[in-house]
Symmetry: D2
């Protein structure tokens, strides 16, 4: 088991709509199919679906948990790290990733998008946040047509 | 010197436009006039202008620096804390605040807005980010007409 | 209120013996008398006694709390920062200090001593940990005779 | 690749003596032989030797790096996480572990021992720190005769 070719973070809400779960599972499978590792926040919803998808293809999954209880990780996380940092762990998810795929999402997902773009880590989005200043759309998140295209674009953007 | 009545974070970019600096200085002064402490990221631009405003009224200013060098703080920070956490310190700025006033801003400011709303800390904005999902504006940041109104609204929202 | 001349951390247990509390209160007073700010973990025991001593002389006190609840701070903390980092905040206490005075102490205090010495921050001790490797005492913590001497030595060692 | 049976942290200095490196490599191999994952600080010296030992038996290795550069990880880390937290990452190494094996060590290792004991995580030591208060040895680190015994004792103490 060599280190993965690259690490892709999949960000999204813990309480997710059916389309978000389907997209996350497909994106997780695409991450593993590309020989990449998956990093996420380790909890339920989008995070769980993404890990399930990655594990279905034999991928390696890392969950950076907000609390101190390893058992809070979803059942498809191989490396569960209870950081005890609360939402400050979002910065660590981003640092651990060569690129981020954001799917749907709440405020936590928006913080991961913002932290990634601040750090220069590319972000590809599926039905996620759009942001503007003074009425003018600000580019940053690259929209993708579907989960497989999102992962392919993420890999292209980070040059791995 | 008793503890302040409340702590207000002022978030905004380190490289700021003239209007952002003017708004930040006025907001900082309003924070001090209200008997509140000011917390921020401790660096230049909006952070420095806000601290200068607060100090001009004898206010207490706290700067949570990303690096480990205390001397990176702007000259109007009374309590300079070199966290060494990088942008993960944005989560600590938000935790330290009863309410956040966001002025203009880049990706770091957007991360503070998102982390605050995730944590249930109210955010008032001046010329800052607007966010949407699937074309529909999502409420969260309360817009204010001017810096003094922003601080007053922040205090009202946090109930202090 | 200009920034303090230096920041001194006082480290010690939350559940403390009477001698530890007396020493902490006297050390806190000495920190304020020297024109320095006091930084600590913000809770009870040695932390509370040190803050009480500093406030009795009009000093500025900062408490870096492990949890997210500001109300967990003792009543003599002026700047209470709920970091939400758990014991990882011990590293921030050390980073915020020009020197550390360790009084008595449990494992948390030992971690602060070790983190300080790792970072090159001088540590002065009163009845605190002694450490050895293979039976040979390892120097690091400078022993002091009493609380006022400890603070004076801490200031001398950090060159402030 | 299911999650490991338990996670064992191996703590020790980045600049290590030959006996420390030999002990670390043997301990790392024992961790993998027991079906456990290895977590460490990800850098050189004891950390590198432990990872090399674990990888020689097909084990899974996690490195929690202090900086933001993944390439700082030693060549036997499978999951390299650039935390960007500096020495505050020592608290995360401890949180990620069911038990800690400390080998030799400097101040950073002592901080990991102290943080583990504070958190209730058992620590087994090989030629590492001894600690005392007022001249009386304080128990905490369980001494082991050799690397394989250390890992066995660590597993016994954490009940995995």
């Amino acid at each position: 088991m060599p280190p993965p070719r690259a690490w892709i973070a999949i960000a999204g809400p813990g309480e997710a709509a059916p389309w978000e779960l389907e997209a996350a599972e497909e994106a997780g499978a695409a991450v593993a199919d590309a020989g990449c590792g998956l990093v996420c926040g380790g909890l339920g919803g989008v995070m769980e679906a993404a890990c399930r998808g990655a594990r279905s293809r034999g991928g390696l999954t890392v969950g950076l948990l907000p609390g101190t209880d390893r058992d809070a990780a979803n059942g498809w996380v191989v490396v569960a790290l209870p950081t005890g940092l609360g939402e400050a762990r979002n910065a660590l998810v981003v640092r651990a990733a060569d690129a981020v795929v954001a799917i749907g999402g709440g405020w936590g997902t928006l913080s991961e998008i913002a932290l990634a773009l601040k750090a220069g880590v590319p972000v590809v989005g599926l039905g996620t946040w759009e942001v503007a200043r003074e009425g003018a759309r600000v580019e940053g998140v690259v929209a993708a047509a579907d989960p497989r295209a999102a992962v392919a674009e993420a890999l292209r953007l980070c040059g791995r």
